[in-house]
């Protein structure tokens, strides 16, 4: 940040804090609420002193009314600029409480990949038409599901509450999603999130849940076990809410300490899920086991049982397959043939061979066509 105005400096710091919290935590999480409050306070200070300011999200710069542009910096806020360009968001002039709240909401929506708020047509605003000029992202069912799953993660992680009806709606939604989400990388929710500069474990979990649901359907599961399997896929990575965003976006190899932080997510996830009344037992078991390996190895290295639950074996394959087929911060998506070869190699060492065959031969092809069968009750 090149600007010299300390009030503007506070706004930039608070903006970075909110961006980081919003990409890490779901809406309503205390950390995210605090960050939003901090930004509101910082903006109020600038409004009191200068009357207004303009935030050019697409170009990553900011200025007070009548002042010169200052950069938002490439470090923490680089992802915000690319997300704004991706979603067709340009600049916003903030001159009162309404725009102030709008900016807070906008940053949250960009971070979580949620629908953008309605934007006022005012001089200086280039929202929805600025930046790349693509216009607002069209409504799509994957996006709605990501939001729904993010909300469910938030309820469990911060309040240990499991809204049963909301979970049912989520499962029905996953069951009804268009089928082309599974094999086309840019259509994978997790992949799309990564491309837009917003690494989203929530979006990746949606892909895992979708593939697990299809596997359950192929296996002829009854509605209740199918619901549990789908939810288990959707919640297996919930422990990632405790992993700092920096680690998710880091280029290159993690240090041993960073790796230890990431490795804690199965334990944290199982703890959250088993301590939340109403969450199926299976979800906690899968969260704990999904990085353990067949015949020992993996993590966590203690507790649980040597033999993995069959549902875990399905979700492990779904997890690896969707991760391979999605781009990540540190690599592009892996082509289908190569992904299959990698899975086959993993099946020889730690993935369940039968499940790999099931996913590759019978489940993945389903992703090419919409699923027309009835959804679980």
């Amino acid at each position: 940040m090149n600007g010299t105005d300390p009030l503007l400096g506070r706004v930039v710091g608070a903006l970075a804090g909110l961006w980081q919290s919003a990409t890490l935590y779901p809406a309503g999480h205390p950390a995210r609420v605090n960050a939003a409050d901090r930004l509101s306070l910082a903006l109020r200070g600038v409004l009191d002193a200068h009357g207004g300011l303009v935030v050019d999200l697409a170009r990553g710069r900011i200025r007070v009314d009548g002042g010169g542009w200052a950069s938002l910096g490439e470090g923490h806020l680089g992802g915000l600029a690319s997300a704004a360009r991706e979603r067709g968001v340009g600049r916003l002039r903030v001159s009162g409480p309404r725009e102030r709240d709008l900016l807070v909401e906008l940053v949250g929506a960009l971070a979580g990949g949620q629908p953008l708020p309605a934007l006022p047509a005012m001089p200086g605003n280039e929202l929805g038409t600025g930046g790349t000029g693509k216009g607002p992202a069209p409504e799509d069912p994957w996006q709605g599901m990501v939001e729904r799953l993010a909300a469910l993660w938030g309820e469990i992680a911060s309040a240990r509450r499991f809204p049963d009806e909301e979970a049912d709606r989520l499962v029905r939604g996953i069951a009804g999603l268009p089928g082309d989400g599974v094999v086309e990388p840019v259509r994978l929710a997790g992949g799309r999130a990564a491309v837009s500069g917003v690494p989203s474990p929530v979006a990746h979990s949606l892909d895992v849940a979708r593939l697990s649901y299809l596997a359950g359907r192929v296996l002829g599961l009854d509605p209740e076990p199918l619901r549990e399997l789908t939810l288990s896929g959707a919640l297996a990575d919930i422990g990632m809410v405790d992993v700092p965003r920096d680690l998710l976006t880091k280029q290159g190899t993690l240090t041993p300490v960073e790796f230890a932080i990431v490795r804690r997510h199965p334990v944290a996830g199982a703890e959250m899920l088993l301590a939340t009344p109403g969450v199926p037992d299976l979800a906690g078991v899968v969260a704990w086991e999904h990085h353990r390996r067949r015949g020992g190895g993996g993590y966590p290295a203690v507790g649980g049982r040597e033999r993995l639950h069959p549902a875990t074996r399905v979700i492990q394959v779904a997890d690896v397959y969707t991760a391979l087929r999605s781009p990540r911060a540190f690599r592009p998506e892996i082509p289908e043939t190569r992904a299959r070869a990698i899975l086959a190699r993993m099946a020889r060492s730690w993935l369940d061979e039968e499940t790999v065959g099931l996913i590759l031969e019978r489940v993945a092809p389903l992703g090419l066509a919409p699923v027309e069968a009835p959804v679980p009750a």
Binding site: G216, V285, V302, G303
Partner: protein, 287 residues
């Protein structure tokens, strides 16, 4: 691929790991511990049936520690106590005993859980002990029943006194194998059972034990006027076996026109009666 396999066993194993202190440093927040105990409570029966019993044993150890802990927050203490109380439900004892019968022997973890189930375990053991007579598992159950101590037995005897005769009968062989003071206490309590058959068997049992103290004598004397003729006879036999009493005097003391022994023991009354009779005979002779 059995995707519908229940997750109860794995859940218990994971909760045990979360509650324990591990080298990997798991420390479950206090707020979550109560919920974890409640989660185990929910899967208790399938875990008793299928295991993992070592995990359940570890969880119960934590629960006991938290239930007794001075600084345990009330919700955690409450959840821990609820879990410990659930272990004493009859169906828990039945599942554990069925598991042992399926295995054919008692593994140490299962034995520890049966001990935690207390009276419920005893009741369930009583249900199968007759069929296991002479088998190694039957012997192991006998040993376990002896080791459980007086608490669970007293609790069970309270229940047995309200149960019909056919449900009490299987426990008598188990009672016979108890340490002497506990066996005698059990026999003395069952002497008050409503079913004559049980009273008879309890008396026969006491007869075999040949106890000698005053408390025992009082309990047996109470059955001398039992409405069931056989019970009364057996009570008399027990009393005569344990006391140097003239059977003729005893008959006399129990005659319908002799007042019931409201004060003192029958022995005292018999002695008084004998003195009176002796005095009366002498008087008659003088007349």
């Amino acid at each position: 691929m059995a995707l519908e396999t229940a997750a109860a066993g794995a859940t218990a194993a994971i909760v045990a790991a979360l509650l324990a202190r591990h080298p990997e440093g798991f420390t479950t927040p206090v707020g979550d511990r109560a919920a974890l105990y409640a989660r185990v409570h929910r899967v208790l029966l399938p875990v008793c049936r299928e295991g993992p019993w070592d995990a359940l044993r570890d969880i119960l150890r934590c629960a006991r520690h938290e239930a007794l802990g001075e600084h345990t927050p009330p919700p955690v203490r409450h959840a821990a106590l609820e879990l410990l109380a659930a272990m004493e439900r009859p169906e828990v004892g039945e599942e554990l005993v069925r598991a042992a019968v399926r295995l054919g022997f008692l593994v140490p973890d299962l034995e520890a859980l049966l001990a935690a189930a207390g009276p419920a375990a005893l009741r369930a053991i009583g249900g199968v002990i007759r069929n296991l007579r002479g088998t190694p598992l039957g012997e192991e159950f006998q040993v376990l029943a002896r080791r459980l101590g007086p608490g669970p037995w007293r609790s069970l005897l309270d229940q047995l006194l309200r149960d019909p005769a056919e449900e009490v009968a299987p426990f008598l062989p188990l009672i016979a194998g108890l340490p002497l003071p506990l066996a005698r206490e059990a026999g003395e309590r069952l002497v008050r059972h409503p079913a004559p058959e049980i009273r008879r068997r309890a008396l026969a049992f006491l007869l075999a034990l040949r106890p000698r103290d005053a408390a025992w004598r009082g309990r047996v004397e109470a059955v001398l006027r039992d409405p069931d003729r056989q019970v009364a006879d057996l009570g008399r036999a027990v009393l005569l076996e344990g006391e140097d009493v003239d059977p003729a005097l005893l008959e006399l003391a129990l005659a319908p026109d002799v007042p019931a022994p409201a004060e003192g023991t029958i022995r005292q009354r018999l002695l008084a009666l004998r003195d009176r009779l002796a005095t009366g005979e002498e008087g008659d002779e003088r007349d």
